[in-house]
């Protein structure tokens, strides 16, 4: 992983003064009356590395999907990278948001390289790519990303043959291929053991710092949050119940919050 990261990045990052994500009084329900999110407020600065924690069913995945522009919301205001999110985001905004779902959303029957190339579809939405012909420059860029992630020798391997850790890295490479300014990752290391998860997060953390990316992660492990995140938010029953610098969230405090004692 020695290649200079800046060489792979083509766009300017968001000015650090603009919040990357601004959420105001966000409400959401899958079924009428059953609110999953209840008035969520968040201000995430550009370049931040934020973790969202909370028990299962707290609304973390729903919040991620809304921020990724995949779920329309009935109430509230969401601004992403200085643009208001209303209905489906326009392609230009979508391109700037990299989303890694919990199960990674990789196409198992395609190779690692093909999966990474899919990250360039927003730049090449035409029929040429639909027939499987990607511009040479994009292929070279995808290969460079795989090299960066130590996956060059696995480029032609079908994803279903890759290990869990390798798949995580393919998903990261696909997201980077998009050239995003904001990365949303929904518990994407939850299937890995702690040392492996730490390794993946260390890499994402370094990338984010070098490229000035904003990263929002749903995480379960406090240890990982303390090690990598600079800020943490805890969601419970669709509401933000705690927000602080990650290092301020100690284990006893975390347990108290999760047990509802605070």
């Amino acid at each position: 992983m020695t290649q200079p990261l800046a060489a792979l990045r083509s766009e300017e990052t968001l000015a650090l003064s603009t919040p990357a994500v601004a959420v105001e009084d966000l409400w959401f329900a899958y079924r009428e009356g059953k609110w999953i999110l209840q008035g969520v407020n968040l201000q995430i600065p550009a370049g931040g590395f934020w973790a969202i924690m909370g028990p299962s069913g707290a609304g973390k995945t729903t919040l991620m999907r809304i921020l990724a522009g995949l779920l329309p919301f009935p109430r509230g205001q969401v601004d992403l990278l200085g643009h208001p999110l209303q209905g489906k985001p326009d392609p230009a905004l979508r391109r700037m948001i990299g989303y890694i779902p919990q199960q990674l959303g990789l196409v198992r029957g395609l190779t690692a390289l093909e999966n990474v190339l899919l990250g360039s579809l927003a730049r090449h939405p035409g029929w040429r790519t639909a027939l499987g012909f990607f511009p040479r420059a994009e292929i070279e860029r995808a290969i460079a990303l795989l090299e960066l992630l130590d996956l060059a020798d696995r480029a032609d391997e079908k994803v279903f043959r890759l290990s869990g850790g390798e798949r995580q890295r393919v998903a990261i490479a696909r997201t980077l291929m998009q050239d995003p300014q904001l990365i949303l990752a929904d518990e994407f290391v939850s299937d890995l053991d702690l040392p492996r998860a730490a390794q993946v997060l260390a890499f994402v953390h370094r990338l984010a710092r070098e490229r000035g990316l904003t990263v929002i992660l749903n995480l379960h492990e406090l240890q990982l949050v303390q090690e990598f995140a600079d800020h943490v938010v805890i969601l419970k029953a669709g509401q933000v119940v705690f927000e602080s610098p990650a290092l301020d969230l100690t284990w006893p405090l975390f347990r108290e919050i999760m047990e509802g004692k605070r």
Binding site: R65, A68, G69, L70, P91, R94, R95, I97, G98, Y99, I100, P101, Q102, Q103, L104, G105, L106, V107, R108, G109, L110, E114, L118, G119, L121, A122, R123, P125, W127, T129, A130, L131, G132, K158, F160, R174, Q178
Partner: protein, 270 residues
Amino acid sequence: MSAKRLAVHGTLRGMEGRRWRELGFSLGLVALLAWLLNGMGFFEAGRLMQGGVNLVRFAQEMFPPDVRILPTIAGALVETLQMAFAGTLLGFLLSFPLGVLGSRALFPAGVVAVVRFLVAALRTVPSLLWAVLMVIVVGLGPLAGTLALAFYTVGYLAKLYAELFEAIDPEILEAMRGVGAKRRHLIRFVLWPESANAILSQLLFMLEYNVRASTVLGLVGAGGIGFYMQAYLGTMAYSRLTTVLLAVLLLVIGMDALSAWIRRRYLLQP
């Protein structure tokens, strides 16, 4: 009796009740079968005895097979195979897009409903009736048989494919939409590769089925070996009919072996 023991007692009573209902249902099914068979004359001993005698006489006339007709039927056998392959592939080419259009994962409910109705209508007609219809439309010969098999194939494969596409992990589709993929990309990069195994598997199953089906299409003049079956049955040339049946058996076994080889060779092993 404590509340806990009462609850256990209630559970046991519930289980016993279910067992009796299951037993009653099974006995009811047996009685229904007996009634149906009786209505068809299954329990008429004299008729069954006569059937056995007829079977023995028929078998005596069938053997030994008359292999002198092999050169005559060879061309018809090849034609049968050609019909099966062409019909299956033509049907597949139509089934894939119809399967995509019939999948709620990609298209609105209105489009899906229309496509599914059309496909269901195609499926209602058996392949032999399709052959009759096609003989009326395009005349006697293998073209009618090929078209009949193609229509029949579409009726089944399009439905199976639509269901396959709907079973694709929505998270993958969501992730792809997240990177800006259009519908055409989803078809090419998600639907196709994620379902490739099942698509090929069902295509091979259809091919095996069509090889068997194509052997009888000649009965209605739609080409292939069926023409000779009908001719030898009509003239009571049973030893020749045996040769035809054995040739068809070999053809079907050969097709199954080829299909098994393709599955082993090309299907992905996850």
